[in-house]
Subunit: 277 residues, 3 copies
């Protein structure tokens, strides 16, 4: 049996104006069987880096035949190219502004094309809403089985964002705040941490720095504060207390149980975080 | 193969209380195969005119067999009729309070009925939530193929809102602010603008006023400010600057690139806008 | 023909971070045909009681084969058990923290199990996001037809919240504020009210107190104010006025027509409400 076409949407459109719904109308007009899943429409306006992060946490949990449509597009109507890329973990459609940087850092890119063929756009393309007129049709056609190479010529030089700061030293790891979530949890760029039985370790990807260390003896320094120990779960502390733990994406997080660490610390994306062990 | 039943939802219910989800439960109980698409649940409470606008921008991009369910219903429980109307561009279900005015101004109405037949309502109809008890069942039955005439008697005199102000004069067009979107873009009632090659024109619908004009030489006056020129795209100006352009719905918009024109201008729906050429 | 698998989602995840979308990816990876409906992702963070209420208003309107997934989970990673329960009105999956108390008070529980079998979890289970790693897979397998008993051993002692305060006296009913909705409507615990023709009555469930009373002569006391009469509909009063009425869930509500009763009264969940008749 054929796979059910699956398209996710990640945008900064909000949900009040009907922009996201309009894109879905376009998709279902082209691929009536497509299943649509909202990843987020609440990315901060023009928040390319935030969209890249949200996508990075979500796409690995979708089937590999999923088409991930991302429209955070401050350069709409200008020279930036509309692109699609295929990886073994999924296919991605959106503007060439770096929003797929984290995907491309983790997945091999099997194909990367510019969305140039007018057959896979709406007949009338506006200059301000390529989500509706260019990206949604491309995602729908890809989900419906059109080969990616049909959509346009290869792109050899996609725009990429600098990857989040992350430096492994003998005594620890220096990173930065990557994201603050709805609960006020502070997600850091210090990733690839894992619990191996009872020990905390950096995973094998850091070949040069693979290390096991005493989680209880480690400290996390951020915003002038020191947090003692890396915990396994919120349940180890009382409500209202702050802790460091390995979050659901494998990154070091700072959280206040049933509270907001971001508010308590006053931190923002880009601020330095140090894990000492 | 039969078409996949498709129902969109536009309400002022928000997404916190489960009202929209409850309507979907009702729809899927009647039409298990129906596909559901949220257009917006964030219309301002009782914002009939705003809902009319959001629907107007979205419905043309859905397949024509779509049923558009709109529940912004300050008169629930009173004398206002529940209605359904069919046009070549879609079928619409909601309260008879003018919310379909813009649809009826643009599309020929093939059928318009009152939702009077109790077979197409829930058994027990509350006095405060007709979205769940009257409108959702009607939309589901229509999506599942029940002929619109079965739902109730014809309505000859639907309520209509005054259409947005728009006057074409020899020297320009006088309109009003129609909507402020999530980005702070100011959408005006000055529509039917199109780029024809390199020239900006009013389209043929304004038969008496069809005109081409020098977009660069035009000015837009709003809230005591003058904006020089009508641009093609955001990319023509620097971030933080204000511009006028033809938006994705074919209407004149005022925007600040990567900022909020509504905040910069302090305008609201209903304020006058003049395009001089 | 087989029923279409149907899963609803009720969480406190918000919609900005992609957490809810990620759960949907997991579900569709396991049950590709499942239909997904959002009930709410805007439950207040850790608002177990609010989630219990939102679920209570929504689930009766879904087909009985629906799986309702609820993830409001302040105890994630601690000792609280992940559970599933089956009732004639639906199947429910979530943490054992009382979030299903209102369901269990109304529906007979046919089966109640701990989600212990690792075959029905993701391979790698994080300590902070059981919504993705434990609850979503369980809901998907249940929706796809796995018998509930396969998921783990029976649970005999689920956690339950105290039911909302509600005392029937000869002269009236004493209850509490249960919920404030997006419109500022104040929903109270005074439920099981129904209009029987022209009379207002407590339904038969209050066997000891079954009563008919003069709706126009009743008064509602809340926050130091008295509201005269219980109305049938908003349409009986002018915009801006306050009224008491029987809301769409059969509970006494206090509302301001086209305004916010919660703001006007300054009430919160737990505040006392008295209906005198």
């Amino acid at each position: 049996m054929a796979q059910v076409p699956l398209v996710t949407l990640t945008t900064d459109f909000g949900t009040a104006d009907g922009y996201a719904g309009t894109m879905k109308g376009v998709i279902l007009g082209i691929a009536p069987d497509a299943r649509l899943v909202d990843v987020s429409h609440e990315v901060a306006p023009q928040g390319v880096r935030e969209a890249a992060y949200v996508l990075y946490t979500a796409y690995p949990f979708f089937p590999s035949h999923t088409v991930h449509l991302v429209v955070v597009d401050p350069g709409v109507g200008g020279a930036r190219r509309p692109i699609a890329l295929r990886t073994p973990a999924g296919t991605f459609v959106g503007p060439d502004n770096g929003v797929f940087s984290y995907v491309m850092a983790r997945e091999p890119v099997e194909a990367l094309v510019e969305l140039a063929d007018p057959r896979y756009r709406l007949t009338c393309v506006s200059r301000t809403f390529h989500g509706r007129d260019v990206f949604a049709p491309a995602a729908a056609h890809l989900a419906a089985g059109v080969p990616i190479a049909d959509l346009g010529p290869p792109v050899a030089d996609p725009i990429t964002l600098p990857l989040p700061s992350l430096e492994v030293t003998p005594g620890g790891v220096v990173g930065e705040v990557l994201h603050v979530d709805r609960f006020g949890n502070v997600v850091t760029s210090i990733g690839r941490l894992l619990w191996d039985g009872d020990e905390l370790a950096l995973d094998a990807v850091f070949a040069e720095a693979k290390a096991r260390f005493d989680a209880a003896g480690a400290t996390v320094a951020v915003a002038g504060q020191e947090i003692a120990g890396v915990r396994r779960t919120y349940a180890e502390i009382a409500p209202g207390e702050m802790l460091a733990l390995v979050g659901s994406s494998g990154h070091l997080e700072i959280a206040v149980r049933e509270g907001s660490a971001a508010r308590a610390l006053g931190v923002h994306p880009g601020d330095e975080v140090v894990l000492r062990f």
